[in-house]
């Protein structure tokens, strides 16, 4: 039985979801062979920013992998691919509908001919039902799962969630599915086919919200009104925006905060007896939170957070990525790793979000492969 760093994963996938699943296997030391069409993974062109010939998106999601070029729509290339399967533990496949139809490989039935094999197929919108075989994208899956309603202004023009929630949810479910199937194989010796769908993945992650919206006991606040609330910009200071919260049990601390910003009478105001709903993400924050705004406008982010955190509340800055990576707390977590780049230098990239303390530490990782760089080595 192979350990994590001996697994062989074939990745027949482009873009974000499949490659990010493969990336997580590569990060555990597995040998990940990327099977690319003649033009290469489309995300090689998803830039600028570019690093050399390839987009930054591609360079990150494909570090440490090998690349072979096979046009799986051609029968002889499909045969070459099948020859790789006896030594492979899992295949991650994500094809456009027209390629899925044209390719001679029946992904669902592969474990019949290769009983040890795990095949994880990624689809965008679903393989049955009225929208069967539709192709998707990050934005389209966000729109179809209703996530875009939680940014921007209610009734305003549609916005996206600015990071790749659909791609990431799908990648993580695909990784979990393959790993669970590998565990099952460890006991039964049998591989299997599984399917992960981007739209279903994002809706699974929305379960808390869907449960809250399904005929709750009488309630009009948090978890229901998100789409109807104005944009959430936190609290504006002299030099940025901050969060601001005291827990429900911390009324005394909130009273001290009010005193510190010159709102000594607020705790006696009958309209502020339910004070907690006027701060943080409370459901009266947009109507009753304005009283705090002048005080925030007179402070810097650091001053506001120091005041609130000093009273045992919670306040952090609305940071950008540079600020978070340079934050002293984040530096202690060492979230970035060193990766070789294709020109012989080194670059920083985000590492893995979890540590398995029983595994050896990171070494410098090989760069994302040039298109077909390992064709000779892998295909022989």
């Amino acid at each position: 039985m192979r350990n994590l760093d001996e697994l062989v994963i074939l990745e027949v996938a482009e873009g974000i979801a499949g490659p990010c699943c493969g990336l997580q296997f590569a990060d555990l030391g597995a040998k990940v062979i990327k099977v690319e069409p003649p033009h290469g993974d489309r995300s090689r062109e998803w830039g600028p920013p570019m690093i050399g010939a390839d987009a930054a998106v591609f360079v990150h999601l494909n570090r440490g992998k090998r690349s072979v070029v096979l046009d799986l729509n051609r029968p002889e290339a499909a045969d070459q691919f099948l020859k790789l399967l006896p030594d492979a533990d899992a295949v991650i496949v994500h094809l456009d509908p027209e390629d899925r139809r044209q390719c001679s490989i029946n992904w669902r039935d592969l474990p019949r001919d290769f009983p040890h094999l795990i095949v994880c197929e990624i689809v965008d919108i679903g393989q049955s039902g009225p929208l069967n075989e539709r192709t998707g994208s990050e934005l389209v899956v966000q729109a179809m799962s209703g996530f875009t309603r939680y940014v921007g202004m209610p009734g305003g023009e549609p916005y996206r969630v600015g990071f790749e929630i659909a791609g990431m949810a799908t990648a993580m479910h695909a990784f979990q599915g393959v790993m669970a199937a590998l565990l099952n194989r460890a006991r039964t010796g049998e591989g299997q086919y599984l399917q992960v769908c981007a739209l279903r993945s994002l809706l699974s992650m929305k379960s808390i919200l869907m449960a809250a919206q399904d005929e709750p006991d009488r309630w009009e606040g948090f978890h229901l009104q998100g789409p109807r609330w104005a944009r959430d910009i936190g609290w504006i200071t002299k030099d940025g925006q901050v969060t601001f919260d005291f827990r429900k049990t911390q009324k005394e601390q909130w009273i001290k905060f009010c005193a510190a910003i010159g709102l000594d009478d607020l705790p006696d105001d009958p309209d502020y007896q339910d004070w907690h709903s006027t701060i943080y993400i409370g459901d009266r924050r947009h109507t009753h939170g304005k009283v705090y705004e002048p005080a925030f406008a007179a402070m810097t982010c650091d001053e506001a957070s120091a005041l609130i955190n000093g009273l045992e509340g919670i306040s952090v800055k609305f940071q950008d990525y540079l600020e978070v990576l340079n934050h002293p707390q984040v530096q202690l977590l060492k979230p970035t790793i060193e990766v070789h780049d294709s020109s012989g230098g080194r670059m920083r990239q985000l590492g893995s979000p979890f540590q398995l303390t029983g595994l050896p530490p990171w070494e410098t990782v090989q760069p994302a492969p040039a298109l077909g760089a390992h064709s000779d080595e892998v295909l022989g």
Binding site: R149, V151, N184, Y193, A211, F318, Q319, V330, L332
Partner: protein, 402 residues
């Protein structure tokens, strides 16, 4: 001896036989327990007499927080007071039989109350001990409470949402960073269980909400670390063009062109092959460069027809396209129900409950989503030193769906 047992094809997931003691609170740890339960593990939620704080989160269903109900699907519930010798003894007895322990106490608390890694790994060297925190175990932020909306802001999540050049804005669904951390815990637990199959050894695994939040945004961070500038662009993004909302004759559509072939097909679909052959627009990097020229041309073309027309045409050409929808619109939609994207569960205690379906469609080991139990329902049967089998007719965890 606990551990994996061969799963069969009768609806039992790939983790059949794996026992999980989930001592975590809120959503971060508990959603990982839900996922492991959906994969077939036998998950027991351990609460203190004070109870999980998430019970306070509104709204409720039949008096219990819908967030608590959702974050404890697929679980049996027990209450133990770990501050008493008896409670701790029972917990240690369960740990000896468990494969996985999940905790997200504040840093230092697990050790203080007798369920730290050192203690539990001596009781059970094969144990996978999953520890999650907000900011980590040391440093200036450790004393500060970490919940989803703060972690969103702290990890940069607001810096790419909203209007170009506008204020940073958070996403008003305050739970995705919690669930993303849970997804990371689940990944790490599965990898550690696999490692145990080979090595025979358990281990400590760690994650933080900060690291999970950064991983969720890894594509944007890769841009930053490569000299790019991730920023709010409304419905658009920096690195792909076209990939944004467009107005049509009636309502907006989301439209993306992700590959060379899709660009070719898109130009044919809108009846403008001259656009395809224009060298300014022939590759994605060139379209990104000439975005300000291209987008008005596309907008002009798309405005001439209603959304339903474009949905039909782009589906035919395999171009990603959709209208912007909401829960009320899709909750009864055949496609969503048929693909198990929206699952209605009949529960004994809380009426009908709508949640997502099983995220993985396994051909041999399907897994399931089941209602959990009210807090502490199974305390007594777990207080006798053994881990009672999870029977199919167990009250409250009977698989029921319409």
């Amino acid at each position: 001896m606990s551990g994996l047992q061969p799963a069969n094809t009768t609806g039992l997931g790939p983790l059949k036989g794996i026992k999980v003691l989930d001592a975590s609170m809120g959503a971060v740890g508990p959603w990982a327990g839900v996922l492991l339960g959906a994969l077939g593990a036998d998950v027991v939620k351990l609460e203190s007499p004070q109870g999980d704080f998430i019970r306070m989160v509104m709204p409720t269903k039949n008096g219990l927080s819908s967030t608590y109900i959702t974050c404890n699907l697929n679980k049996r519930g027990i209450v133990l007071d770990l501050k008493t010798a008896k409670g701790l003894r029972i917990a240690h007895g369960l740990v000896a039989q468990a494969d996985v322990f999940i905790e997200n106490f504040r840093p230092g608390v697990a050790e203080r109350i007798g369920v730290g890694y050192e203690t539990l790994s001596k009781i059970n060297p094969r144990l996978i001990y999953a520890s999650a925190s907000g900011f980590g175990r040391q440093g200036p932020m450790v004393g500060i409470g970490a919940t989803d909306p703060h972690i969103q802001a702290f990890t940069g999540g607001a810096s790419v949402n909203g209007s170009p050049g506008g204020l940073r804005q958070r996403w008003r669904w305050y739970g995705h960073f919690d669930c993303t951390t849970a997804m990371c815990i689940t990944e790490a637990v599965l990898a550690a269980l696999y490692h145990r199959e080979v090595s025979g050894k358990g281990q400590l695994i760690r994650t933080t909400m900060v690291e999970a939040g950064l991983a969720l945004q890894r594509v944007r961070i890769a841009e930053l670390l490569s000299g790019g500038s991730p920023r709010p662009m409304g419905s658009a993004t920096t690195y792909l063009v076209p990939d944004q909302a467009f107005e049509t004759q009636d309502k907006p559509i989301a439209l993306s062109v992700t590959s060379r072939r899709q660009w070719d097909h898109f130009c044919q679909a809108i009846g403008n092959v001259a656009l395809r052959d224009d060298p300014r627009f022939s590759t994605n990097p060139r379209r990104v460069e000439h975005r300000d020229t291209l987008i008005p041309l596309l907008q002009e073309a798309l405005r001439t027809r209603p959304a339903a027309y474009w949905l039909q045409v782009f589906a035919k050409w395999n171009i990603p396209c959709a209208t912007f929808t909401s829960f009320d619109e899709f909750r009864y939609h055949t496609h969503y129900l048929e693909n198990d994207m929206v699952r209605r569960l009949a529960t004994r205690d809380w009426g009908w409950l709508t949640v997502g379906g099983v995220p993985w469609a396994f051909s041999k080991t399907p897994g399931s989503i089941r209602p959990g139990s009210p807090p502490g329902e199974h305390t007594e049967e777990f207080s006798k030193g053994s881990w009672p089998e999870l029977g199919p007719d167990h009250p409250g965890v009977t698989p029921q769906h319409d």
